[in-house]
């Protein structure tokens, strides 16, 4: 029997606000334990939560980028459960009326577009961080109350490849909407995978297994592939699949059972009585939508369809938001789309990778555009431009000063070039003889000599033409 895999994904993303979701304690990482805490985060008696405007704004940005309906009456609910990571005994979340609903994202699976529908996006707070020792656990409340958005996809994903493409598309979306650094390995983006198998002909979903503890895309892929294999084997053996929460075990590269899943009713959701529903101003929502920068998918379409960049070049630009922003600004002043792209993803990117610097720290858009003009109109040869660029990046100078200071300008003047050519030929009559005898290879050698004499400034093509002409003239 053939089975079909049905996957739904829940993604949590920590928002990079300055303060927490419901308190004014700072959101910061790598600080000493329990130093970033407000009385509200600890559920001290008498404290009341108050909703962070920036977190709401960020949620709206992501909602809009995901083409969602935005709920303009913001309300929160309590999700009740008892665990040491939750000081209040409940988490404030949005169960009944999520801020965003009915959205979608277009993803790229092996260069083919696919649309994944998204059921909901809601705002909530993160829990405290537990460190488990052999017999006890330690609690650090720095993370308690950090704003989170949770995004729930429809169960439309069919394999690990699509799952990874979906997660990657979301990660870029978080980065481009500037709401999070979205680093899975650091926990600022986390995901839970719901996966079930059903006979291909069946309309009914199979029993759902949830996989947690996935901190990289490669683990997501491995966990899904393993789980498909495990569930297929059970079904073929006629054994039941238990509704469970499992986690990916790095050591064995398998999924292992954590607990049997509690049903949703166990969380005893009810409206949060401490936060009155908040009416969001429609003008404010519109302003947030209008300010949204170009998103990865839009950029890719423009790069490929309008600017005629190759798929791979477009991908490399989009993989680096800073570079993509820089590219967009440069081509506004210097519309040599492919040339600018090749220089950015070539020499500039490799320098950035080596030096671990931000592009804005080493280059100005106007200066880089000027350099690209010099390359396009052949004022500089490629070799010269590379040297100028390096000096621009290391010495933080504009191309004109570098060219003047280091005598880089290409020599295109016939008179100057001819003077150099004459000098060389006058002293080497043997070479003219060799040329006369049909050794045309000599031309390359002579071009090299001109380049050497001019410190690489001579225009090689022009030198080549002039040399050929002169050699023909002097031919014996």
């Amino acid at each position: 029997m053939k089975f079909e895999t049905v996957i739904g994904i829940e993604v949590h993303c920590e928002l990079k606000t300055k303060s927490k979701m419901f308190s004014s304690a700072p959101v910061s990482f790598g600080k000493k334990p329990n130093t970033q805490v407000h009385a509200i985060d600890l559920a001290m008696p008498g404290t009341l939560p108050s909703v962070n405007q920036k977190a709401v704004e960020m949620a709206i940005r992501v909602c809009h980028a995901l083409h969602m309906d935005i709920q303009d009456l913001l309300s929160f609910d309590r999700k009740n459960y008892f665990y040491a990571d939750l000081p209040k005994g409940y988490q404030i979340t949005q169960h009944y009326h999520p801020i965003g609903s009915h959205g979608y994202i277009e993803i790229d699976v092996n260069q083919e577009n696919m649309r994944i529908d998204i059921e909901r996006l809601h705002l909530e707070e993160d829990t405290a961080k537990l460190t488990h020792l052999s017999d006890e656990s330690l609690i650090d409340y720095n993370r308690a109350g950090i704003p989170l958005i949770e995004i729930v996809s429809k169960p439309q994903i069919k394999n690990s490849l699509q799952a990874c493409a979906y997660l990657e598309a979301l990660r870029y979306l978080f980065i481009y909407t500037d709401v999070s650094d979205a680093v899975m390995a650091q926990g600022s983006m986390r995901c839970d995978i719901n996966i079930s198998l059903k006979p291909e002909t069946s309309q009914q979903y199979g029993v759902k297994v949830e996989i947690k503890n996935l901190n990289s895309l490669s683990n997501v892929q491995k966990a899904i592939d393993y789980e498909i294999q495990r569930q297929t084997a059970l079904l073929l053996d006629g054994k039941p699949i238990l509704q469970q929460t499992r986690r990916f075990d790095e050591k064995t590269q398998t999924t292992v059972a954590m607990r049997n899943k509690e049903t949703t009713a166990d969380y005893r959701y009810y409206p949060e009585p401490n936060i009155l529903p908040i009416k969001l101003d429609s003008k404010w929502i519109q302003q947030i939508k209008d300010k949204l920068p170009l998103l990865p998918k839009q950029r890719k379409d423009i790069y490929i369809n309008q600017y005629q960049l190759s798929y791979n070049d477009a991908r490399i630009l989009i993989d680096h938001k800073e570079l993509s922003d820089f590219y967009n600004q440069t081509v506004q002043i210097c519309p040599h789309y492919q040339l600018v792209c090749h220089w950015l993803i070539g020499d500039v990117l490799s320098y950035l990778n080596k030096s671990h610097q931000s592009i804005h720290a080493i280059l100005h858009v106007e200066d880089f555009a000027k350099l690209m003009h010099f390359v396009a109109d052949k004022t500089l040869s490629t070799k010269q431009a590379k040297q100028v660029l390096e000096l621009m990046m290391t010495k933080h100078k504009d191309p004109v000063s570098v060219i003047e200071e280091y005598h880089f300008q290409q020599i295109n003047d016939d008179h100057i070039l001819m003077k150099v050519i004459d000098e060389i030929l006058d002293y080497q009559p043997d070479l003219i003889k060799e040329y006369s005898q049909g050794k045309t290879k000599i031309v390359g050698f002579l071009v090299g000599q001109v380049m050497q004499k001019t410190n690489g400034q001579a225009n090689p093509q022009k030198t080549n033409q002039l040399l050929m002409k002169e050699l023909e003239k002097r031919k014996q």
Binding site: P33, Q53, F82, H132, D135, I139, I278, K279
Partner: protein, 96 residues
């Protein structure tokens, strides 16, 4: 019997331990409570919107994203029975 199972499940969800001796009195209290609820259940609510907050006015307030009022770490840990490495130490329960 059904009531006992339900109450045991509720107690488990709330992580409360209830002894078998306490169960009969708890069931009595639960039944009294449910009788009261039944009076509410009998009210005709067809077409009535659920009321969560007894206020007519709209709330528009959102807090600006500024950092203030950070607690001193000694105050954060003041109520902890045990502290280790500047963190609250509790019995280990691996749950999620």
């Amino acid at each position: 019997m059904k009531d006992i199972e339900f109450l045991k499940q509720l107690a488990y969800d709330a992580r409360l331990s209830i002894s078998d001796e306490d169960m009969p009195s708890l069931i009595d209290a639960y039944k009294d409570f449910m009788d009261q609820i039944q009076i509410l259940e009998d009210i005709e609510t067809e077409g009535v919107e659920p009321l969560v907050f007894p206020f007519e006015s709209q709330n528009y307030y959102l807090r600006l994203d500024d950092v203030e009022d950070i607690m001193e770490v000694d105050d954060v840990l003041k109520n902890a029975k045990e502290v280790q490495e500047q963190q609250v130490k509790v019995p280990k329960v691996v749950n999620s």
